[in-house]
């Protein structure tokens, strides 16, 4: 039965359809519909040509819905209840500023608060850092607060108390009282989402979740109704930022899990493809219109962060796929600063007005304009069947804003824009690899997104990455990720166990306790027994004096732990520390700050089928055009990807075009079409 994956992106909503009956994959793209996102979802499924009545599984939906509401602050009326004395924690944050010398900078938490100060309530209670109750929750005051919240017509309430990570009892009592007094409000406690020490992350996670609950619940209902009305009888799942899929019942309670889920789906798709291609170390490069995102997977496991920064000083304390994101995309604006230096980004022309060449009113030159001027983009193609690219507009923008101030010709200016953008991209890759103690030379890069395949080869040269893979459907790769991912749930708990003295049985029990809860949650919707689940354990460890809440992730074996296991964990931590930070201290005491478990249940995934046979035929170019490379214009063969058969080899310089992306094969590189339709680019 057909499976559909849909990724709602900022500009486009992508769908990928797999029809088992004919063994065929197809993709579709439509503009994202604001604010009624479910319309775009139904539109794009329609465009794949499948009848919804036939669809067995539908998986969505990307991060845009939640992120857009938060960025625009278009949020339901939400209250926060917190410990007396800490009303301003949300606004004050960590006290630091985003720009060192800019006196006009506005702190987002103050100038665009997620929850306003007037909507923050304090109650008397206090838990100590060891979990003792120093001051019991004043239930009378708490009940009055709950009534005030009911009378204030708040749609959602976040409950966050200091030190609740070690003892959530007061948050739970407060939630119960609220449930009694204000039954219509959506309620979130911080500890239902995270048990990590450091108040800022839990606080933001909790507040974001509360704000998103009414929105996501509404969205799920509209989407479900829309799908059902069109005959959909299958099951619906959501993608999460931890790189797994889940059930709508979970998203209704924990909508914050969808933040960052679209990019995570792209990483998951790369991971899936890599299992077929036999790659175990993969760097993903996902470049769209405004940013580039990079993720490095060793042994194909997702790197996880529990300190994702949403906006300045707004951390989320959830296990999320760890990516580095920098402001360089097709829409990034090129400019010359007051000191006469060329710059690219971080401002982006976005999709409206978009690059100058779109002819929609954008007058500033962007990376896309530079690529068009250099002949990399096809001036006769239309974007998503709608937008014609106009070279003369791109040229004019580059001439007046870049060439003239720099005193260069237009090609030279465009080429410098591309080189500079590639430097920023390589910085993203460096941050995701070298700065994390990973050597990119041992990795293969998977490049996707609309703009990734255009720059990947040059980047690999710069970083000495031996090989680039351009997967099939690079412009709808997150939608593919939706259809090839297992169910999973992951949770982190701060324990602060000293590694040298903790009883291995205590550590085992802490993991097991966590896993029982996670398995129950998963079993409730996947319809499988917990014996079918796989569990992955991680300990986040640091030397005793190092930062709490930071530390390095070390895998923990899935068994009753022994002293021998602890010694092994310790040894691996020391080695990791050396690789990452350049020194180790085996004589030092070490502390397990957090333990994390990830429980996974296998889902039915879209299978990838290899070509029956690989030919060795030469491809026939559809045209030649002049493309500007380092040495100047070169007459370059241009191919259509859909005509390339498995086993085809193409020598650079060459351009390969497909509906959602353009691949650039520079001189002295060649491209090979692999068994799964992937294109492998490497140096000749």
């Amino acid at each position: 039965m057909p499976i559909v994956g849909v990724d709602i992106g900022g500009t486009f909503t992508d769908a990928l359809l797999y029809d088992e009956r004919v063994g065929k994959l197809s993709v579709a793209k439509t503009p994202t519909t604001y604010p009624e996102f479910s319309e775009g979802v139904i539109n794009v499924i329609g465009k794949t040509g499948v009848s919804l009545g036939d669809v067995d599984r539908f998986i969505g939906v990307g991060s845009t819905l939640a992120e857009n509401a938060l960025i625009e602050r278009k949020l339901p009326k939400t209250a926060l209840i917190t410990t007396k004395g800490f009303r301003d924690l949300l606004q004050v944050g960590r006290w630091w500023r985003g720009r060192l010398f800019d006196l006009q900078w506005d702190k987002p938490a103050q100038f665009k608060p997620i929850v306003r100060r007037r909507d923050i309530f304090e109650v008397t209670e206090r838990i100590a850092s060891d979990g003792r109750i120093i001051m019991p929750l004043d239930e009378k005051e708490a009940r009055n607060t709950a009534r005030a919240i009911r009378d204030g017509d708040y749609q959602a309430v976040a409950i966050f108390f200091i030190n609740s990570y070690v003892n959530p009892i007061h948050e739970e009592i407060m939630a119960r009282l609220l449930g009694e007094e204000a039954p219509r409000a959506f309620i979130t406690t911080s500890t239902s989402l995270s048990r990590i020490i450091r108040e800022h992350g839990r606080l933001h996670t909790c507040v974001f979740n509360a704000c998103l609950m009414p929105l996501l619940v509404d969205f799920i209902e509209r989407l479900t109704n829309g799908l059902r009305q069109r005959g959909f009888k299958g099951s619906l799942f959501f993608f999460q930022s931890n790189g797994g899929i889940t059930d709508p019942t979970v998203v209704r309670k924990k909508p914050v899990l969808t933040i960052g889920s679209g990019p995570a789906a792209g990483v998951s798709a790369a991971r899936y493809l890599a299992t077929f291609l036999g790659h175990s170390n993969v760097i993903t490069l996902d470049m769209g219109g405004t940013t580039v995102k990079c993720c490095a997977m060793a042994d194909l496991s997702f790197p996880i962060t529990t300190e994702y920064i949403f906006e300045w000083d707004m951390p989320l304390a959830l296990p999320m796929v760890d990516m580095v994101e920098l402001g360089a995309g097709g829409g990034s604006i090129a400019w010359v600063d007051k000191g006469g230096r060329l710059r690219v980004g971080p401002q982006s022309a976005g999709s409206r007005p978009g690059p100058a060449c779109y002819g929609m009113g954008g007058l500033l030159p962007t990376l896309t304009d530079a690529n068009l001027v250099l002949g990399r983009l096809n001036p006769r193609r239309k974007l998503a069947d709608e937008i014609a690219l106009r070279s003369e507009l791109a040229k004019n923008a580059i001439i007046s804003h870049i060439s003239e101030p720099l005193g260069t010709d237009v090609e030279e200016a465009a080429f410098r824009i591309v080189r500079l953008a590639e430097t920023i991209m390589s910085q993203a890759v460096r941050s995701a690899t070298i700065e994390r103690g990973i050597d990119p030379r041992d990795y293969v890069m998977y490049a996707f997104g609309g703009a990734g395949p255009m720059h990947a080869a040059t980047l690999c040269e710069e970083l000495q990455i031996p090989q680039v893979i351009i997967p099939p459907y690079p412009g709808a790769f997150s939608a593919l990720g939706m259809c090839v991912t297992d169910f999973s749930t992951e949770f982190a708990v701060s324990v602060l166990y000293e590694l040298g003295s903790i009883d291995p049985d205590v550590l085992t029990r802490s993991f097991e306790q966590l896993e029982r809860r996670l398995s129950q949650e998963l079993a409730a919707y996947v319809g499988k027994k917990s014996t079918d689940f796989t569990i992955m354990r991680t300990a986040t460890i640091k030397y005793i004096g190092e930062p709490i809440g930071k530390g390095l992730d070390v895998g923990v074996p899935m068994k009753s732990l022994t002293q021998e296991d602890l010694r092994d964990i310790r040894r691996r931590f020391d080695e990791l520390h050396y690789a990452r930070y350049g020194f180790m201290a085996p004589e030092e005491r070490a502390v397990i700050v957090d333990i994390r478990s990830r429980v996974t249940a296998v889902s039915d995934k879209v299978p990838l089928r290899p070509f029956d046979a690989l030919g060795a035929g030469r491809a026939i170019p559809k045209e030649r055009r002049d493309v500007f490379f380092e040495a100047g214009y070169v007459s370059t063969r241009v191919y259509a990807r859909e005509n390339l058969k498995g086993g085809t080899r193409i020598e650079g310089p060459a351009i390969i075009e497909e509906e959602t992306s353009t691949l650039v094969i520079p001189p002295e590189f060649d491209a090979y079409v692999g068994a799964y339709g992937e294109i492998i680019i490497q140096r000749t």
Binding site: F86, W95, F101, R117, R198, P547, G549, G582, F583
Partner: protein, 563 residues
């Protein structure tokens, strides 16, 4: 470099507070590039690298790492340790990497911070440039000596390791750059970066009408005498260069607010930077267009044996204020009301009753920033001279025998104006079941941070000690009409004593009676401004109509005399 330091350093002051800076220097010790960090660190760092070059000359070899903190030799104050690594490429020295980090305890008279020093020897172990590492490994004797003079040697040892690893990463990356692009190209780019920063600063200066601008301002006291201490600057702008003359500034004082000449020069440059070029990089090129004159023997010419610890804070901060006030008439859309006086904050040390082990901590709760020409100031954010973070409450309580009772904005603390200064922060620390030694630092307790163009000052700094047996004592700020000097050390306080730090709000911008009444109403609803202040200072009448606060237009007109 910064990434390594954050993740591996041992003291919360490093990793949570991020009171450190990492930077790269060219062969001639020019600061070329910096990572995130504190302006106050970066501006003075080239002098530290220079001190290493002067002292060691030919004896600088591949694999060496140097350490210094000597404030008279390129340091800032004793607590800031600077680690300097020469970078060699193919046997020749091509650059330097350096990390400057505030360590939590350097053996001063009181834990972490001491308010009453009258000689630098009371401020901790003074370290001239010394070699602590060679290609053969650590120079153990020197490290032993350094570690012997602190209350928390384990933490300091960890911090040293982290700082050295940060430098090593900087070195390695630099060498890779040379491998990839060639030594000459990298050197040419460094030279370009200096010229580029210079161009940007010159462009900024050229926007200021030629002429002479002056201002003066005061530090509350030197911690020893109750008298205010004056800073005065005269700025002369000619074309695209500028001279800043500190004549008229107080002579050296007994207490620890003196400032070494090189550090004051750096302070002057970073203080001007946001007015001249807020976006560009700061490096040694930024210094070129600005000549700084400091009279011999003045507050900004600290020399042996004058103490300097708080000079890095109060004095450095006030240098910025004087420069901003001087240039306000020339740059009305760039200058903002004055920022809270100083983040001096609080340090404490003692024996943790839970473990019996010694602990030391320092934290600088923030205050308000000044209002801007078209919007309000930022509330409770760290002072411009640094960019330091909190120690999260949950971390603080897990690590130290301390409980944080509150972290809240102070109503009516933002300097009133057409645009309001940011609010100050109140933070209360309870020292559980032990008797620590505590030092409290602060400034602007005599009068709040000044506003500009008719804006009013923010609420002054204030600190209180609340002891179980004696109740509330104002220890900084006005007490019975008299100013109690705003920084001091308490040798031992009762168990369960609470220290309440109330940092100042930022200065306002423009006349308060010109503030949009709707903005005043919003401030009242949010609790930033009281009803009383709305009426008395902003001249806005706000009434409660059936539970909804509204502006009483007629009464407001009457109050403002517009009727």
């Amino acid at each position: 470099m910064a990434e390594v330091l954050i993740n591996t350093s041992y003291s919360p002051i490093f990793y949570d507070a991020m009171d450190f800076s990492t930077a790269l220097f060219d062969r001639e010790q020019n600061l070329v590039a910096q990572t995130i960090g504190c302006p106050v660190h970066l501006a003075a760092m080239p002098f530290a690298v220079r001190a290493v070059a002067e002292d060691f000359g030919e004896d600088i070899r591949e694999g060496d790492v140097f350490l210094l903190n000597d404030p008279y030799r390129g340091g800032s104050h004793i607590g800031d340790y600077t680690f300097v690594t020469p970078i060699f490429y193919k046997g020749e020295q091509v650059a330097w990497a350096a990390t400057r980090a505030h360590v939590v305890d350097s053996g001063q008279a009181a834990p972490s911070m001491f308010a009453h020093a009258t000689e630098i020897v009371q401020e901790g172990l003074r370290i001239p440039p010394v070699k602590i590492y060679t290609k053969d490994g650590p120079v153990k004797d020197v490290l032993k000596l350094v570690l012997s003079h602190t209350r928390v040697p384990d933490y300091l040892a960890g911090d040293i390791k982290a700082a050295m690893a940060a430098n090593e990463i900087g070195r390695r990356e630099f060498v890779q750059l040379c491998d990839r692009y060639g030594n000459e190209v990298v050197m040419a780019i460094m030279s370009y970066m200096l010229d580029y920063a210079e161009r940007l600063v010159r462009a900024g200066i050229a926007q200021i009408p030629e002429g002479s601008y002056a201002a003066e301002d005061y530090i509350d006291s030197d911690g020893i005498s109750p008298d205010p201490v004056r800073l005065r600057a005269q700025i002369t702008v000619k074309g695209d260069s500028m001279t800043v003359d500190w004549s008229g500034t107080s002579p050296l004082v007994r207490g620890p607010i003196n400032r070494p000449r090189h550090a004051a020069t750096g302070d002057t440059i970073y203080g001007l930077k946001p007015l001249l070029d807020p976006e560009g990089p700061m490096n040694s090129g930024s210094f070129r267009p600005i000549k700084v004159l400091i009279p011999d023997g003045c507050l900004l010419d600290a020399r042996w044996p004058y103490p300097v610890d708080r000079g890095n804070n109060e004095t450095s901060a006030r240098i910025t204020d004087v420069l901003w006030q001087a240039l306000a008439p020339a740059l009305p859309t760039r200058v903002i009301g004055m920022t809270y006086g100083y983040c001096g904050g609080i340090s404490a040390g003692g024996l943790d009753p839970r473990s019996g082990k010694p602990y030391v901590f320092w934290e600088g709760p923030p205050g308000g920033w000044g209002a801007r020409h078209n919007k309000d100031g930022i509330s409770a954010n760290w002072h411009f001279h640094g960019n330091v973070r909190d120690t999260p409450v949950e971390v603080m309580e897990a690590l130290y025998p301390v409980m944080i009772l509150s972290t809240e904005l102070i109503q009516d603390s933002g300097g009133p104006g057409r645009f309001r200064g940011g609010l100050g922060l109140r933070r209360e620390y309870k020292f559980i079941a032990h008797s620590p030694v505590i030092t409290i630092g602060g400034d602007r307790s005599r009068g709040g941070p000044p506003g500009i163009f008719g804006g009013k000052p923010g609420r002054p700094f204030r600190a209180e000690v609340i002891s179980p047996s004696r109740g509330v004592t104002v220890v900084s700020g006005y007490k019975n009409g008299e100013l109690d000097i705003p920084f001091k050390t308490f040798w031992s306080v009762e168990p369960d004593t609470v220290v309440r730090i109330e940092n100042a709000g930022g200065g306002g911008y423009g006349e308060p009676a010109q503030r949009d009444p709707n903005l005043v109403l919003e401030d009242v609803i949010e609790g930033y401004v009281s009803l009383q202040a709305a009426r008395d200072i902003y001249k806005v009448a706000i009434v409660d109509r059936g539970g909804v606060l509204m502006v009483d237009e007629a009464e407001t007109k009457r109050l403002r005399g517009d009727a």
